[in-house]
Amino acid sequence: MIEIEHLTVRFGPSIAVRDVSLTVRDGESFGLVGESGSGKSTLLRSIMNLNRDWDGRIAINGLDAHATPRKRLAREIQMVFQDPYASLHPRYVVGEQIAEPMRINRMADIERRTVELLELIGLGAKFRFRFPHELSGGQRQRVSIARALALEPKILLLDEPTSALDVSIQAEILNLLNRLRGELGLTFVIVSHDLAVISYMCDRLAVMRNAELVETLTREALRARDIRSDYTRALVAAS
């Protein structure tokens, strides 16, 4: 469960996120929609403490995001990045990259777990010793997901997980994510500019614009066009 209260993020004079409060419930899939510069990715990175300059309160499964050591949080929450071409280290084989978080946290049975994770995300053990440049974008994104799952987190943040991929690959990744959520009982927070993807993937969603939260609504409300703000309506019309 993620609780965000009055989160404000400043980059110098400009405000990237202004007084946002929201709650992501256990086990749900929560969507953040908005256009570029709306602050949705900044919000995600603040939850992960990738930028530490924010005011407000963020609690992840009851743990304060500022005060809790990184290694403790790492087992609760992990993140998958947008660009599969930039999120894997180009010099290490896939198996190494999946094993890295487990090595950092001195887990047992790393070899076996790596193979299991590769099977889980549908690539199989034969990919263990491949370099990222030998893989397609979709395969790389699968590896990123496996790496994020290595520490068995309960929450997964996904920053535009499919926007760099072809549509047919997007379908495969979305199906994979839904399957993983069912099998592992994960909570998702998905950031996307694509309302169709959010509507397909998420139970609830928040719309962001110009650093502010415009509205929060359920999938049912979205589909019934039970929408309060004009901006959300414009987004729906444009999709």
């Binding site: 990184r70 992990q78 993140m79 180009p90 978080p101 053990a125 010793f129 491949r130």
Partner: protein, 300 residues
């Protein structure tokens, strides 16, 4: 025992095959650059000469024979004899060892220092960065040869001291280079992923940042080898590098320069050797940059 292939072992073989294949591609691309091959050949030749110096030399490089001083090139003295009657060819052959020794010593000391300082500075940022970079600036602000001169003068002349002095002047560019790469890498998603997994700054620098800085530094090192040879020869020439009777090429030119008008071969032959070897390193450096430089590579 049955001959079922181990599912873990198999992909390892695939990895080896992939690495081998990549190496082949690398070699093929290298061979496409004829000047690079020439440079590589010169460097290999230098190494071979250094290894087999005792077999290749026709005379003892240190044994004077005053009766034959300043002999012209002939069947006995292929490149002539110097002012003490020592065979210039044999001295050149043994001198290649000194050249390689200096180059090697400078590289193994300066490249790691520069790499580590640059990677730490670029990754950590803040005050660490400012302090390290100002130190680097101080070293960069003084002309290279002058700095080396001052150090040798303080440490006392000699071949190891000369190499150390060159190291002191050689590391700052590596630090700058590694810092620039590190500043890009530290903001990359794969470093963010490592941080999210709880990796310590030390781990990030050693396992994530430094491997990405390596290729730029290697390219720069190959280029710098020519410069190191020239600086070493320069120090030898003014008497602060290798001391007599060591057959260091710069020192050979220095002692032979009195004879340049009458016995031209005495200073000229080592001069040609220095020229050829530094050219070889330069050509090799060029080719290596074409292959490894991450910026050029993307544009290919």
């Amino acid at each position: 025992m049955s001959v079922v292939s181990d599912p873990i072992e198999d992909p390892r073989r695939a990895l080896r095959a992939a690495r081998l294949g990549e190496f082949r591609v690398f070699v093929r691309r290298f061979l496409r650059n004829p000047l690079g091959v020439v440079g590589f050949a010169i460097v290999v030749l230098l190494v071979l000469v250094a290894i087999f110096a005792p077999l290749l030399a026709t005379h003892d490089p240190y044994l004077p024979s005053l009766g034959k001083r300043l002999s012209a090139p002939s069947a006995e003295f292929w490149f002539g004899a110097d002012e003490l009657g020592r065979d210039i060819y044999s001295r050149l052959v043994y001198g290649s060892r000194l050249t390689l020794f200096i180059v090697g010593l400078v590289i193994v000391t300066s490249a790691p220092i520069g790499l580590i300082i640059g990677a730490v500075s670029g990754t950590v940022g803040g005050w660490t960065d400012r302090i390290f970079m100002r130190i680097t600036d101080v070293f960069l602000a003084v002309p290279k040869l002058l700095l080396a001169l001052a150090f040798v003068a303080a440490l006392g002349p000699g071949i190891v001291n000369a190499a150390l002095a060159i190291t002191l002047t050689a590391w700052p560019p590596y630090a700058r280079l590694a810092r620039a790469e590190a500043m890009v890498v530290r903001n990359s998603d794969y470093v963010a992923a490592a941080r999210l997994a709880g990796a310590s700054p030390f781990r990030i620098i050693v396992f994530h940042v430094i491997p990405m800085c390596l290729s730029s530094v290697i390219v720069r090192v190959t280029f710098d080898m020519a410069g190191i040879i020239l600086t070493a020869a320069g120090l030898g020439f003014i008497g602060l590098g290798a001391q007599p009777p060591l057959p260091e090429w710069g020192a050979m030119i220095s002692t032979g320069r009195r004879f340049i008008f009458d016995q031209w071969w005495v200073p000229t032959i080592p001069g040609i050797a220095i020229f050829v070897v530094s050219l070889g390193f330069n050509l090799l450096g060029d080719a290596v940059r074409d292959l490894l430089d991450p910026h050029l590579r993307q544009r290919r």
